[in-house]
Amino acid sequence: MTVQEIIDRAKDDFDQTGDGTFSDTQLLAIFNEGYTDLCRNTEMLDKQSEVTMSALDGVLTIPSDFLHARQTRWSYNTQLYAKSHRILDYDQRDWKNEVGTPEYSVYFNFDQMRLKPINSAAGTVTFRYTYIPADLTVSDSPAIPLVYQEALVDFIVAQMFVIVKEYNNANAYWGNYLKRRARAKRQSRDGQRTPDTLTTQRPVNVFSYPKWDQGYRTK
């Protein structure tokens, strides 16, 4: 579906024809709010990006659309493991002066990452990460699979009903949105849309056989 089609479906559910209460521009803004919310919560979109670093740079700015790292590598072949300032500070009080081949990534602020040790030579940091997509226009199509785009219709309609203060209708659509969002989140974890071949791919944080079995049977 294009964004315009999603907006039109939302207007239909809201029983609005033409511009009515909401203009398409206003609904596009609400769509982008929902699109960001869905992609943020489910972490369903991921991509790869590279940052080239000179020797002794040590600190880099991570991509602006970065949400969560799936893998971080130094010069394509060394996995960088995440460590916190706090852990490193207690393990090794001089860690920030260390120079060598990077082994750890240390995130700080929401947009910075430090290498530990500081890179002694030039190299490339490769991020594989989940991201927040850019806002769309009405002629674009969302990057998420078609099956999850229904959730965006629910989001828009729920917001429309909140704005006009029809809270019963708003709650119904908002409940639908949250349910679809939760389902999309479960499905969009690494490997979850493939058959369950490994025990670790069971779709729960803490393994619960009844929940897993229920999820398995409903597939």
Binding site: A29, T36, R40, A82, K96, K165, R189
Partner: protein, 278 residues
């Protein structure tokens, strides 16, 4: 999103594009309050502040935007914090003792102070410290100190002194350069004032500023008050605040390091414990 875009969206949700009920100034005030509260709620914004000490100066001004100190380093080496009462117990001369800092403490609310007071010199004949022992050696001799350390004469133009650690017996560094002090801290972002100003938060958190603004607007007494809408946007705000808190834990933004560590539902203490102490 910049403030102009956030405000326009807020006005759509408030159905008040003509500012009949809420003024732009009110919306901006609530947005800035939310922006500030998010930092206290999430501690997500951190940065470094680096400065050079002045030999003999005990206390230094902290950055104005500081909310909480995360760590302090002197020449790259982490030092730990204590209260002035603890330092009083540790060393009754802590207000005057000179040397290489081992501890930091807050002096009032806006200053950081060090024990020992940062002190160095490039004159090797006047350097003094309680940490070690100064060994006088004459030109062109090889000497042994009473601590068993043999030192070579490095300077053949005159006598030279070496700082010897009293317990370990090793010659330790000579401090002749100003100490470089790094403070890593969480900060309060700059307030927005112009339409073109952008909240100092990741893009997806700009909506939290919007929700924070809306919850205040709907909760305000008078025309336009709506408890249901205020509650709805409060819940939206809290969801994002919790999630940002979860994501801002430095460890959490890295990839899962153990097979069983799956992405948690953000903000849950239980999930966080599972993640950190699996």
């Amino acid at each position: 999103m910049n403030w102009g875009t956030i405000r326009d969206l807020a006005q759509v949700k408030l159905q008040d594009s003509g500012n009949k009920i809420w003024t732009d100034a009110q919306l901006l005030k609530w947005a800035n309050e939310s922006l500030s509260d998010l930092i206290i709620g999430s501690e997500g914004n951190t940065k470094y502040f680096r400065f050079e000490g002045e030999s003999g100066t005990r206390a230094y001004d902290l950055p104005e935007d500081l909310y909480e100190i995360r760590s302090v380093r002197v020449n790259g080496r982490k030092i730990f914090g204590k209260t002035s009462e603890e330092l009083e117990d540790l060393d009754r001369t802590y207000l005057v003792a000179l040397g290489r800092p081992d501890w930091y403490y807050l002096d009032g609310i806006n200053q950081i102070a060090f024990h020992k007071i940062p002190s160095w010199t490039d004159s090797k004949t006047t350097f003094d410290s309680e940490l070690g022992v100064l060994v006088n050696v004459d030109d062109d001799f090889e000497v042994s100190s009473e601590f068993g350390v043999t030192t070579e004469i490095l300077d053949d133009s005159g006598s030279e002194r070496y700082l010897v650690h009293p317990l370990e017996g090793a010659v330790i560094d000579w401090d002749s350069e100003p100490y470089v002090i790094d403070i890593f801290y969480s900060y309060k972002p700059a307030s927005m004032s112009l339409d073109t100003d952008t909240p100092d938060l990741p893009g997806y958190m700009h909506y939290a500023v919007l929700y924070g603004c809306l919850k205040e607007a709907f909760a305000r007494d008078g025309q336009g008050q709506d408890e249901n809408a205020a509650e709805f946007y409060t819940q939206r705000y809290k969801e994002l605040e919790k999630e940002f808190f979860g994501r801002s834990r430095e460890f959490d933004r890295g990839q899962d390091q153990m097979i069983s560590m799956q992405p948690p539902s953000w903000g849950s203490d239980q999930d966080w414990r599972i993640r950190v102490f699996p």
